[in-house]
Symmetry: C2
DNA sequence: TTGAAAGCGATACCAG
DNA sequence: CTGGTATCGCTTTCAA
């Protein structure tokens, strides 16, 4: 079945294509009665505007690029999903660009013109540190940008206070009486995702520093932000003769890995070891993990709004930095250290 | 900076736009020397074909719609990520359409013409049962389709043998000596995702039936396929006076929920209870979960290939059903039942 | 092998 | 408020 074009609608409604275009897009300066007739004809014919044609003519594709260092991780997929749903409500679609290079986890793919030019109206960058060439490209294309977590030029940044979040978690451990605290989640050099990891580590250090508590370097673990790697780190940490009484993991996925490691070694949580995470991942509750909760959906929606605002499709006041609150959630993985 | 158009390249190379178009797309009937000149001019100018214009003229958008009942779940995000990467290598992009309706988990969004018409060249449907209207629409638009898991008309279907997979897991429990086995993961009526759940349940029943083992209805749990819900189900199951010696969870996420429930109740795994899952989720290894492994990346790549094949961009022989092997992975969550 | 020109299906400016 | 028409940038006959 051949799809009808705007000309068909015009003919059916007895008006010009120009009028159809206006009527359909809800522009003013169209007589209500005329609009009525156009709408009727359009729905009668099952007419749908061709995105390609309208894109070519208007220069807007209604497509938004979402750039991410990896998509298959809790925070990332949750936020992408929220962005996608929010944008779809405004008739926009998401083009995911996963920079992860499975063959070589520490390096990553880069963006090129082909990916961006005329393809998308704007970009949401989720916790990616743009390469110089990418940044240059984005600036050159003058694409509206919103970031989640990381920073880019003066683009609106949506996120949480990562330093404060980690401080909150560390303070909790200290308040319980812990003084021997390890940290899992320092980023690898050359990672595509560095801002959040380094800020959380900074928050951890700030908290301990404020109470003059010191941490040996071997207790600060570089780790990919996922359970598997944290599991390995925690295993080696907990097998050592001299082990900490508490672990702060920079994400719940890592905290759960640490939990599994403790379980593996027969170390009781929280009796022998306290573990605190950050995120409030779906598994945190079933596993009784104490954590600092952040609301990812809110952040995704905010990112979508900030982008739409820059596209002139939402209140311009929404195109600003927004920092969302976090909250300590006490469960059963933390307790006062046992004297020994 | 204004982006150069095909006319600029033509001028620079001293040929017509038609020739530029051919040369750039690698069509034959272009003199090697001419092509050389065109390519040089194009790269000199940093020329990039406008996807919108080329889309309008050719009718191909190089966009593929990926339809999914939810994107923020292990299997789904992993397969989407694989599809996206595979397609990007062929210069195609993915438009994710997440049908999940957060307000009302049991219902879902539906696709409409706006989403599909002229927007995408083809569709990959991941475990979605299409509504009649959607199916009708897709047929009407004559869009190439590939499915992962579920079925659609005669479209190539990529997946595993779900019945056999569940049978394999159940057989393992039975072989260990279990006769009192519960199942978590029956789908809710009205769910958007039914085929895999019902096939796995069928596999479970087939396995037990073959040995004349019966299961009380209360031991078959309806559950959303995620840890949280399985946790709740397992809790009520394990609190009962009369409880099973083993649980088969239709996915690892649910198995992990069950693991947490056992831990919560002080039930030892595998001593007092065996748990087996399906998937080989990232957390399966750290938690020592016995499971049936499926390779999701392979399936994603295969789906991308099957779609590209239908678009004439890959070996036509790839546009066929493909069933991938699964494998039982023994870990520490299963053992012979203890007499009592 | 190459070029000229007719679309592709809208948008948006300029008149009326 | 409505219509005519140039334009967006490329693809694709049709001729040469």
């Amino acid at each position: 079945m051949n799809q009808p074009t705007i000309a068909d609608v015009a003919r059916a409604a007895g008006v010009s294509v120009a009028t159809v275009s206006r009527a359909l897009r809800g522009l003013d300066k169209v007589h209500p009665e005329t609009r009525e007739r156009v709408l009727a004809a359009a729905s009668e014919l099952d007419y749908i505007t061709s995105p390609t044609a309208s894109g070519l003519a208007s220069g807007r594709t209604r497509l938004v690029g979402v750039i991410t260092p990896y998509m298959a991780r809790w925070f990332f997929v949750e936020v992408i999903s929220a962005i996608e749903k929010a944008l779809r409500q405004q008739d926009h679609h998401v083009l995911v660009m996963d920079l992860e290079r499975s063959e070589a986890p520490s390096s990553r793919h880069s963006l090129d013109q082909r990916t961006l030019f005329k393809r998308v109206d704007g970009v949401v960058a989720i916790n990616v540190d743009m390469l110089d060439t990418e940044a240059e490209l984005v600036r050159q294309l003058a694409l509206p940008v919103v970031t989640v977590g990381s920073r880019f030029d003066t683009a609106p940044r949506i996120g949480i206070d990562d330093v404060g979040t980690a401080t909150l978690a560390a303070d909790h451990l200290i308040d319980l009486g812990h003084r021997r605290i390890a940290y899992i989640g320092k980023h690898f050099p050359g990672s595509a995702h560095t801002r959040t990891p380094s800020e959380r580590l900074a928050g951890f250090r700030a908290s301990l520093g404020a109470r003059s508590i010191s941490v040996p370097d071997e207790w600060i673990f570089e780790s990919e932000w996922r359970a598997r790697d944290a599991f390995a780190s925690a295993l080696s940490l907990l097998r050592a003769e001299d082990r900490p009484t508490a672990i702060l993991a920079a994400s719940d996925e890592m905290a759960i890995g640490a939990l599994a490691a403790a379980r593996e070694l027969g170390i009781r949580v929280p009796d022998d070891l306290s573990i605190v995470g950050i995120d409030d991942h779906e598994l945190a509750e079933p596993f009784g993990l104490t954590t600092v909760r952040q609301n990812v959906v809110d952040q995704g929606v905010a990112a979508a709004e900030a982008l739409l605002a820059q596209l002139g499709l939402a209140d311009p006041a929404l195109a600003v930095d927004r920092s969302f609150p976090v909250e300590l959630v006490l469960r059963r993985s933390t307790a006062a250290p046992t004297d020994r």
